[in-house]
Symmetry: C2
Subunit: 493 residues, 2 copies
């Protein structure tokens, strides 16, 4: 390592360690912080934001970065560092700090509003978050649409027009599929429409995570209102799920989803912890991992052939008289519904499209946050044919906007597309996969993902990961093929 | 507020927020971090240490401090800030870093030595820690004894001669009391020598904490190997206790002890969170609060008149046939024992005296760390009349020296002295206290402590707190009076 690169790495260490601490504070806030701790936590997060931003944008950092860039070494490290520097340097400290504090308070207000169902409690915070986020877009700069500057943070290289293009490519075929399914004989959900004791659900979530290869010596599973994965480092990856006695699928697919994120994070090389190379390279790639485990694996028949017996042993009364095929059909029941995180594989994208349109328009200034509740209902009616009766079922369901995660929703759909591309390729590479999954063996699957995705962490760009793993660029066809193949079969279309 | 003070406060904010975050990371590490997370956590803590030290000792900070000091405003704030600055600025970065690294290794070696009982594994590390701690003392400077510079960090204004004076004042009378008790009829511990189910113990700990006024909306109770209180801010105060089926007193008095710390932290004014004025003013004052709740309140008959019925409802089989007086006598059983943390109120101070003498002499260079095991045994025999058979029972029992906490032990005894002074004064001010406690009413007690101790947080020096609350300086007589009065009565001396 040259001296210039060594100096740069010395400067990066504390900064990326602060980022890893931030993720722990966030986890703590969602999982177990006392209710009165919100304001003080907001100040802590603001301090971390301010300090890391100042360290990253200090003249000494830029000069170390430029000196290192002048040499032809550690190209990946320098690329990742340069990207972080450019993202940060364009924002004034004042804005970074204010945004962190406003968001921490907005999350508290959202939590309260979600409990009481009162959008008015949340509205002033929502306005503030969007106002500051628009400021961020203006500082960063953009070619065509201010939203470009936001999505690029989560998905390097992606812009508004490209997202619109992907959605336009998917929508006609997707709507056709939804209509075909609506006209077909529905799949019975009877097996799921029962009460499943929470203790058993928790045991089963842990069991499933162990089965897919999540390492509990370098991670945890807890409960929170909104399931998530917070990775402080690859040695400390924390998942949460949500348990509801009357909705056993929530804990099963929530755990598998977060487990997919967790496996990606645990697969990041340990020597990259606390450096710009550690962790996932984009939210889209991250979501490809969670979706792959939640849906492509987790809602497949082979997977349940292996694990339905275990579930039956935990819930003998509920599952008495049901076969694995009944369960498989029930978890693949397709029906337009109000809540994104509970949506089926087919209608999920429609939830994303409407959120994308709304946040894009608020950022552009053409939609007033005060109108969000009504517009939400209208769009839901347009895309899904149903109208939520309350804001809890409607615009208060997601934490994202409160937390300043704007430009983030489209990455969920990108995740589905990438997952389908990876799934198609890995099934070619692993011809025995179905048999292995049916025997409860998830190792070769995880091995393929470790080799082709996880081990690259943030050292490759999203496109490099996709191209490297699949031999082609991002495209939507494998996703549509997968949906038509699977649900065409299930519904006899 | 003048501009100079405003500028200084702006600079302090991030630093003291980092300190509050550090305390959360420490809590997390002890309570729920996955086992594999240690190395990454060490890097996070090192980053916090490095950044906060750099921010605090930056030339810009000193110049802001001096400008603010030139005005006659916010005297308390400036005093607290100046003290923090001086403590940090006198140490070269090199020493801070080396000490942190050496201590991390020493803690590991101590853990191993404690397991195997082999002092020789720990000795080289112990030597290094003491060598670097002596360097710290030399950098900080001192009037008469290098140990002065160490104790002052934990107990502002205290020095070696003063500690020696206090101990010399206590020892003759204390030894006389211990001998008197040894010759008397022992109190029966039979009621405690039973198995108490853990679930009930946990409920009871929570109940006791609620009774003494601990606010669970701004705090938590969890479990850890070594009980402690970690206060991130007054809005987020976390206690732990340790549960053992065969040692119910551990959870009861552990919770009350940590609860006393917790009440002090929750009583710090919220507007001082994340500033040099927030939190406890010294370890001695802190320990006065924990000892007051653990012993003066928690081992008193009135307190148990109120709460023994609740305990009986949780443990009906174990407590059947016992009266509150039986329980009161059992929890006040006095007997010399090897382990400090399990010592009774009377013999506890003797454990501290011998540790103080040894660390003082090692720092002065008159005691060789290699001689610690034998000197430990000799002193234990001299003060407590018993000789440990092993180093595990002897000089390897405490983590403090391995972790560089030298000058810390005396504050445990200071806590007892201050608690006795406060107890004596508050009983004059609250003549109904015994009746109130016997009715389960802990409010006027907490109110008195809030007014006289808690609300001052770090804005007063320890001596100012004592003088303000008690109208006299620190002195040892109330402690001796309390012990003779209570144990003289219990043992018929």
């Amino acid at each position: 390592m040259s001296e210039a690169v060594a100096t740069l790495k010395e400067l990066c260490g504390p900064i990326w360690n602060l980022y890893s601490i931030r993720s722990l504070l966030y986890w703590d806030q969602q999982v177990l912080m006392p209710s009165g701790g919100g304001a003080a936590r907001a100040n802590q997060l603001a301090a971390l934001e301010k300090i890391s931003h100042e360290l990253l944008t200090a003249p000494a950092f830029l000069s170390a970065l430029e000196k290192a860039e002048a040499q032809d070494q550690d190209r990946r490290y320098l690329q990742a560092t340069r990207r972080a520097y450019d993202l940060a340097a364009k924002l004034p400290s004042r804005l970074v700090e204010e945004k962190a504090r406003v968001q921490a308070l907005a999350v508290e207000a959202w939590t309260e509003a979600k409990k009481s169902g009162q959008f008015s409690v949340f509205l002033p915070h929502l306005k503030e978050v969007f106002r500051l986020t628009r400021e961020v877009a203006d500082h960063r700069g953009y070619k065509s649409h201010p939203y470009d500057a936001l999505i690029d943070e989560y998905e390097p290289g992606m812009d508004t027009a490209q997202v619109e293009g992907l959605f336009n490519g998917i929508l006609p075929s997707l709507v056709q599929l939804v209509q075909g399914i609506a006209a077909a004989q529905p799949l019975s959900r009877k097996v799921l429409q029962q009460s499943f004791p929470l203790a058993g659900q928790h045991l089963f979530s842990r069991y499933l995570l162990e089965q897919i290869g999540f390492n509990f010596e370098r991670g945890r599973l807890d409960q929170s209102t909104h399931p998530f994965c917070a990775s402080s480092t690859s040695a400390d990856v924390r998942l949460t799920d949500r348990l509801d006695e009357n909705l056993v699928t929530m804990s099963i697919f929530g755990s598998l989803h977060e487990g997919g994120h967790g496996l990606y994070e645990q697969g990041s090389p340990p020597e990259w912890n606390g450096t710009p190379l550690g962790g996932g390279c984009s939210l889209g790639i991250h979501e490809s991992q969670s979706r792959l485990y939640e849906n492509f694996v987790g809602r497949s028949l082979p997977f349940w052939k292996a694990h339905f017996p275990k579930m039956r042993s935990l819930f003998p009364d509920q599952l008495w008289g049901y076969e694995v095929e009944d369960f498989y059909r029930a978890i693949n029941h397709v029906q337009p519904s109000f809540v994104r995180v509970e949506a089926d594989e087919v209608t999920y994208t429609l939830h994303i499209v409407m959120r994308f349109e709304m946040e894009r328009d608020i950022i552009a200034g053409t939609l007033d946050p005060a109108d969000v509740p009504e517009v939400w209902k209208d769009k839901m009616e347009k895309y899904l044919g149903i109208r939520p009766a309350s804001d809890r079922q409607g615009c208060l369901q997601d934490i994202h906007w409160s937390d300043g995660l704007i430009g983030y929703f489209p990455t969920y759909s990108l995740g589905n597309l990438v997952a389908a591309q990876l799934w198609s390729k890995l099934r070619q590479d692993l011809p025995q996969l179905d048999e292995q999954l049916a025997q409860g063996n998830c190792c070769s699957l995880l091995g393929w993902l470790r080799d082709n995705v996880h081990r690259h962490a943030s050292a490759l760009t999203p496109n490099e990961v996709i191209r490297g793993a699949c031999g082609q660029d991002l495209n939507h066809q494998p996703f549509l093929d997968y949906l038509w193949d699977k649900f065409g079969g299930l519904y006899g279309l």
